[in-house]
């Protein structure tokens, strides 16, 4: 009898709880990755605060592995069953907007002014902002000081220009057992990312503000030519390497230098390393590729207004900075708290200084098409099957389809 009473009581409690939560309107949020990591507790607390301010709405976070999360959100939206909001690579936003799947995020001029213009460029198309940046990365050059010394170079002086970078890499290759540089050219998205670092440090671009393809330029021909030239002083077979595969080579002192993001600072401590801005090409200035991921709000979820409100709350200046520091991400905005970060860890400087002159991931209507086209041009030159001018011209023609 007592057991029956407990069961009945439990059922009533669960029933009441069910009725209570059934009254709340669900806001379905798809988040890439899992519920571990430094920023998760901050985000959960911010969401709880938003829910307290917006009675009647409950945020239901669905964690989906990185490899599938964006495809899942897009497929759900295409099938007419969209999430309210989702974590998306900003590069996909123009394609989603063109297909009428997401709503713009209305930002005031004051809101926009909190971002460096190139950062805002990663989410802006046709004059509208299509997502709120929530994760950010820039790139810099890591060098192995011991290999520099062994090659007769000054271990405290990294290269500042492309020519210096080639000469230093050659010195390492000629005078040590290591290769001079780690070059990525695999059929993978970060091959294009690596190449764009050279494009942006040589004054080049892929697409201009008016949405026209401007890939076929002398700047880009030089960038591709130099990328191919670096293969001479890099590890054998760059086409087998994406950026992540370069780290083991650097940690094992098999390469003297490589270009990557701030996360490497915690992963390459087995060697005596330094980090500096990416060397500059003959036609350019210091720069880097700026990559942001955003929170995008999908159309037809029925809670678009609340989803936009939630996105703005999560990515507001103070909340976003707290999240970035906890998660170890590059700060999106140059707030007073960022200076403290620089003071505490000077290796941030190389990643932060290049932001104002950095360039965004190209904003096109077929991102994978763009990636395949540029990767094929890079591989053609690295494998010695095409010259740079021919590869750039061919790629530029194909890119017209994706603008």
């Amino acid at each position: 009898m007592r057991v029956l009473s407990v069961l009945l009581g439990s059922a009533m409690v669960l029933g009441v709880a069910g009725i209570a939560s059934a009254d709340d309107t669900r806001i379905h949020m798809i988040q890439c990755g899992d519920n571990t990591g430094g920023g998760v507790a901050i985000r959960d607390r911010l969401i709880a605060e938003w829910e307290a301010e917006n009675a009647g709405y409950e945020v239901d976070i669905e964690y989906v592995p990185w490899g599938q999360c964006q495809e899942k959100s897009t497929t759900l939206a295409s099938a007419g069953n969209p999430p309210a909001l989702s974590y998306m690579g900003s590069r996909t936003l123009k394609q989603l907007a063109q297909n009428d799947l997401i709503v713009p995020i209305d930002m005031t001029d004051a809101d926009k002014a909190t971002y460096a213009p190139p950062v805002l460029g990663t989410v802006t198309a046709n004059g509208q902002v299509w997502g709120a940046p929530t994760a950010f990365s820039t790139k810099a050059l890591f060098w192995n000081k011991d290999l520099f010394a062994a090659a007769g170079l000054d271990p405290e002086t990294p290269p500042k220009t492309w020519d210096e970078m080639y000469e230093f890499a050659k010195a390492i290759k000629d005078n040590t057992d290591a290769d001079g540089f780690g070059l990525a050219a695999a059929s993978f998205d970060n091959t294009m990312h690596q190449f764009l670092n050279y494009v942006y440090t040589n004054g080049g671009a892929v697409i201009d503000d008016a949405g026209e393809i401007v890939f076929n330029s002398e700047n880009n021909v030089q960038a591709l030519e130099f990328y191919g030239r670096m293969a001479e002083v890099s590890q054998p077979g760059p086409v087998a390497y994406d950026r992540a595969k370069l780290r083991p080579l650097f940690v094992e002192s098999k390469i003297g230098m490589f270009i990557s993001g701030p996360w490497e600072r915690n992963l390459v401590n087995d060697v005596n390393w330094g980090v500096a801005p990416i060397p500059v090409g003959p036609m350019g200035q210091p720069g880097t590729l700026l990559i942001t991921d955003s929170l995008a709000v999908f159309k037809n979820s029925g809670v678009e207004e609340q989803a936009v409100s939630l996105v703005k709350w999560l990515t507001g200046p103070d909340n976003q900075l707290e999240f970035e520091i906890a998660a170890g991400l590059t700060p999106l905005r140059d707030l007073p708290g960022v200076q403290a970060l620089r003071d505490e860890d000077p290796t941030w400087t190389a990643f932060l200084d290049a932001i104002p002159t950095g360039g965004p991931e190209p904003f096109v209507t077929d991102y994978v098409g763009l990636q395949d086209t540029i990767n094929e041009a890079v591989q053609g030159v690295v494998l010695g099957e095409m010259d740079a001018a021919e590869a750039v011209e061919m790629a530029a023609e194909q890119l017209e389809e994706f603008k």
Binding site: T74, Q95, G237, V239, K254, Q379
Partner: protein, 295 residues
Amino acid sequence: MVTARKIDYFPYLLLVPATIVTLVIVAWPLVETVRLSFTNSTMSPIEEYIGFANYEKMFSRRFPEVIARTFIWMALSVSFKILVGIIGAVLLNAAVPGRTLFRILVMPPWIVPIAIGVFIWGWMYNGQFGMISGLMQRAELIDGPLEFLAFRNTAFMATIVTDVWIGTPLVTIYLLAAMQGISQDLHEAAWVDGASRLYRFRRITLPLIMPAVATMSLLSAIWTFNSFDIIWILTEGGPRNATTTMIIDTYKTAISRFKYGEGSARAVMIVLFLSVFAGFYFLMISRFARREVIE
């Protein structure tokens, strides 16, 4: 007096669940794929009928090259699997000590989850840390690290070798079973007549396992034609599309680039090719069955 024969509906009733399942999970997606191939469907919920435009676009680009590459990849891979499978089956059929252990040891490539096996091969193909390049350097066959996945020809062959490694155990076991079905009397009679081991293999074993070889070749061709994970994990179709087969091209178009219409047109082409293989397979099965009845 002639009475109307009563129709027994019960057998048809038993077929209903299977028919419904088949219609839902096979027929409907197939019909939907064919329908989509005539539309401009992308990630947008709105789509329009565009006739054969997707097919025209597909063949105006480098799709014929992809088809040719797929057939070469499949032909090489299946040939190696059958060749190695026959050799393996002959060895495992021989009366040697520890035969059972060898028969068990041949299975791991087939039992290990494909993704794990392919990742291991990916590291073995690595020039800096990989075993193959290391052994070749020690044997002084090459004078420095060789990245097998970095060049068109070596990447193409590397994907075939991995596919052969994964696919051969099943072929071996299937052919071994066929060999064990051959009467020992035939071999003994030939041996008494002075036939050599090679002669007995050529005139007795091979002809009698030929139906199994043909069946396995066709089945293997169908599986190999649709082999996706090996190529995707090792090269994602690169370098410079050197390992892009029809299934990789279809995935990139339909799933990675959200061009459902164009991707469906490619999928329809795959269905057509596989239907031809399947047609041959069923034709062969029925011929073998008929021959067995006559004999």
